[in-house]
């Protein structure tokens, strides 16, 4: 009886530790909650060009959020591209490849034909040049 309870206590502690380690996981935890919610709801999607897009017609708040994030992304791409001796478009497009690959099931992304697609369990449709 005592053995079982100590084992269950260990499991519980282990579980708590695991949760503690998993919760502050990268990317997802550090996104703004409104942005994360809009991604999960499919209101915003990752475009091929490395920027976010508004899917369909959404509220002004969502459009403003996307615009703000895209301005930040552009500044980031410009800086990184210069360091890598690449053009802004080259860097942004590569970023788009990777960001589309990293989308979670249910999130929206832009397919090579320009249409919005919902990420399924399989790999997304990407430009053939994407790594």
């Amino acid at each position: 009886m005592a053995g079982i309870s100590s084992r269950s206590l260990k499991t519980l502690l282990g579980g708590m530790l695991a949760v503690g380690l998993v919760l502050p996981s990268p990317a997802v935890a550090q996104r703004d909650p409104a942005y994360e919610a809009a991604r999960q709801a499919g209101q915003v999607g990752e475009k091929m060009d490395g920027y976010l897009g508004v899917v369909g017609s959404q509220s002004g708040a969502i459009e403003a959020m996307v615009s703000d994030l895209n301005i930040k992304r552009r500044a980031n791409y410009a800086e990184r591209a210069q360091a890598q001796r690449a053009t802004l478009q080259e860097y942004a497009f590569t970023q788009g490849c990777i960001l589309i690959a990293r989308t979670q099931p249910g999130e929206k992304y832009q397919a090579p034909d320009g249409s919005w697609q919902t990420r399924g369990s399989g790999p997304p449709q990407r430009d053939p040049r994407c790594p």
């Binding site: 996104r31 703004d32 091929m48 478009q89």
Partner: protein
Amino acid sequence: MKTAKLTKSASQAHKPRVMGKRKVTAGVMAVLGSALASGCISVNAPNEPIVIELNINITQEVIYRLAGDVQQNIEANPEIF
């Protein structure tokens, strides 16, 4: 339906055939009219901006070279991705 016969066998003053012709003409006019009305070309502006492919000059070589830095970039700036 029986057509009324004239007591005097003379040519009819009013031929029903004319009536039929008029009917056909009226029908044709109606069809033409509706065709013209529905044949108007309506131009609707698309909601989505027209996407012009500007990425055709980006080579796969460059993309592969940048891929590693892009991964690091996501880890360094998770709030904007």
